[in-house]
Amino acid sequence: MSVNGAASLLALVGIDTYYGQIHILEKLNLEVREGELVSLLGGNASGKSTTLKTILGLVQPRNGTVEFRGENVTGRTTSYRIKRGMAIVPENRRLFGPMTVLENLEMGAYLNRDGRGRKEDFERVYTLFPLLKERRNQLAGTLSGGEQQMVAMGRALMSHPKLLLMDEPSMGLAPILVERSFEIIQQVHQSGVAMLIVEQNANMALSIADRGYVLSTGRLVLEGPAGQLLEHEDLRKAYLGR
C-alpha cells in the first residue's frame, strides 16, 4: 500500500506532557497518514505509553495539539476521540476478565448506537477470528494468552476504527504467537485500517511497518522509512542486538 501523498490522519504537534514536575514528552511531533502502518520504538520509560495516552486523551499535554482527521481534538474527551474513529489494543490486553468474550466485544462497540451495524461488526470480527465465535460465552479471564490477544484485537475492531493503536502487542506472548499476532496485524492493516504500533520488539515491528519513529527519554531521536531504520547503525546496536 502506497503511503506517500496520503492525507494526514493523526498528527501530534509540539507535544509536552508532564506527570507533576516530571517532563515525560518533550516537543513531540508525530504523524500517521491514512492507511499507513507506523511503529513507535523505544526502551523502558521512554514515553511510548504516555504518547498513546496523550493521543487518546487519557493524559492531557501541557503544550501542543493533537489533530485527528483534520480536527483539533486536544481538549476533547477520550470517548469523543473513540467515537471519531480511534481504537486501542492496550498493553497486556486489559480484557474484562469476569465478563464473557461476547460482552468484551460489546464493550468495544460501546459507542455504536445502531444495532444493525453491530451485527455486521460481529460477523467481521468472527471472520477474522473464527475461534472467538466458538468461545463467545466463555469468560475472557479464562482464555490463553494468544486467545486473549485475539479478543483484544477483535474488541478494538468492533468500533470500526480509522486508526488502531497497539501497545506492545508482542508482550507476554510465546514467540510463535508473536509471529501469528503480527500476521493478523498485517491482515487488519491490509483491510485499510491505519495503525500505530508501539513496540520494544523493534525488528518485528519494523519488518511490517511503513515508517518508524524512535523515542528515547521523551524525545524523538530518529524517524524515517522502516527499511532505512532497520539498517541504521545506532538503532541496531541499541535494539536489534546485531
Binding site: T77, T78, S79, P90, R94, F96, M99, E103, M107, Y110
Partner: protein
C-alpha cells in the same frame, strides 16, 4: 419449640433483612467501582425516609390521602428514590470525584464529613423529634396468614418490592449496556475508558442507582416500623455495611445474602439469645467478627489480590 414465635422472628428478620440488603447493595456497588466505603450512604437512607414522609404529607397525609393508598405508596417510593438518587450523584460529584487520585484515606474522611453534614443538616431542618408515617391509617392493620405465619401488609410490601428491586438490579447489571459498562469499569477503569466508556457517567449512574435503592429502603423501613428521625441512618448504615462485608464486599448477590443474614441474625438474637432485645447489635457485631475471622473476603467475595 414455639413455632409461632419462630415464624414471627423469621418474618420480621426477612423484612429487616430486605431493608439491610437494599442498603448493602449501594455500599457494594460503590465499593466495586471506586474501592470507596461511602460512609454517607446510611444518611442517604435517612434522607429517603424523610422524603417519603414529605411526599406522603404533600399528598394529603396518612389520614386523608388525596389518592388511593396504593398510589400514594408508589409515589412515595418514586419521590424518595429520585431525590436520593440525585443526592447520591451530587455527593459523588462534589465530595468524591475531586479526590479520585488522592491517597486512599482522603475520600474516606471526605465521606465521613458528608455523613456528618447530612445528619446535622437533617437535625437542623427536620428537628430532633420523631416523625411517624402512621401506616395504620394509610394502609390499615390487615394481616395475611398461612397457618402460623403472619404477614402484615407493609411487611409483605417490603419483602416483595425488595425482591423486585433486586431482580431488577440483577437484570440491569447483567443485561443492559450501562450494567455491562459498570462491570467493565469496576474491573478496570482505564481499560473501560479506552473503550470509549464515559467513566464519570458510569460512576454517577452507579451512585444514582445505589442511592435510589437506599431511598427505597428508607421508605420501606418507615412503612414497617413507623418512626423516623435524623440519626436513624447511622445504625442502619452500619448494618448495611456489615451485610455487605459478610456477603463479600463488591459482590451484588453477596450483598443480598448478607442483608438477609444480618436481618435474620438480629431478629433471632432478639428472640432467642440472653437479653437479646437489649444487645442484638452486639450479637450482630459478633457475627461480623466471626465471619471476618473465618472468611475475610466474605461469603461470596473473592480473595483480594493486590497489584504489585
Amino acid at each position: 419449640m414455639n413455632w409461632s414465635l419462630f415464624w414471627d422472628l423469621t418474618v420480621s428478620g426477612l423484612t429487616l433483612g430486605s431493608v439491610y440488603a437494599l442498603i448493602a447493595l449501594g455500599y457494594t456497588m460503590v465499593y466495586g467501582i471506586l474501592k470507596l466505603l461511602n460512609f454517607a450512604h446510611g444518611d442517604v437512607y435517612m434522607i429517603g425516609a424523610f422524603m417519603g414522609w414529605f411526599a406522603l404529607h404533600w399528598l394529603g397525609g396518612p389520614v386523608n390521602p388525596s389518592a388511593t393508598a396504593w398510589l400514594v405508596v408508589v409515589l412515595m417510593f418514586l419521590f424518595a428514590m429520585v431525590a436520593c438518587g440525585g443526592l447520591g450523584v451530587a455527593i459523588e460529584r462534589f465530595a468524591y470525584r475531586p479526590l479520585r487520585n488522592a491517597p486512599r484515606i482522603a475520600p474516606l474522611i471526605s465521606a465521613l464529613g458528608v455523613s456528618f453534614f447530612l445528619q446535622n443538616s437533617a437535625l437542623l431542618l427536620f428537628g430532633a423529634s420523631f416523625r411517624d408515617y402512621d401506616t395504620f391509617h394509610l394502609i390499615g392493620a390487615k394481616t395475611y396468614n398461612y397457618k402460623d405465619i403472619f404477614l402484615s401488609v407493609p411487611q409483605l410490601l417490603t419483602i416483595v418490592s425488595a425482591i423486585g428491586l433486586m431482580i431488577g438490579l440483577t437484570l440491569l447489571v447483567a443485561r443492559t449496556k450501562i450494567g455491562k459498562a459498570m462491570r467493565a469499569t469496576s474491573f478496570d477503569r482505564e481499560a473501560a475508558s479506552m473503550m470509549g466508556i464515559d467513566v464519570d457517567r458510569v460512576i454517577a449512574s452507579t451512585f444514582f442507582i445505589g442511592s435510589a435503592l437506599a431511598g427505597a429502603a428508607g421508605v420501606m423501613f418507615a412503612l414497617v416500623f413507623g418512626q423516623i428521625y435524623h440519626f436513624m441512618g447511622f445504625l442502619a448504615g452500619l448494618k448495611g455495611f456489615t451485610a455487605a462485608v459478610i456477603g463479600g464486599i463488591g459482590s451484588i448477590p453477596g450483598a443480598m445474602l448478607g442483608g438477609l443474614l444480618v436481618g435474620l441474625a438480629e431478629s433471632y438474637a432478639t428472640g432467642y439469645l440472653p437479653q437479646g432485645s437489649t444487645f442484638q447489635n452486639l450479637y450482630v457485631f459478633a457475627l461480623l467478627i466471626l465471619i471476618i475471622l473465618i472468611r475475610p473476603s466474605g461469603l461470596l467475595g473473592k480473595a483480594d489480590v493486590k497489584k504489585v
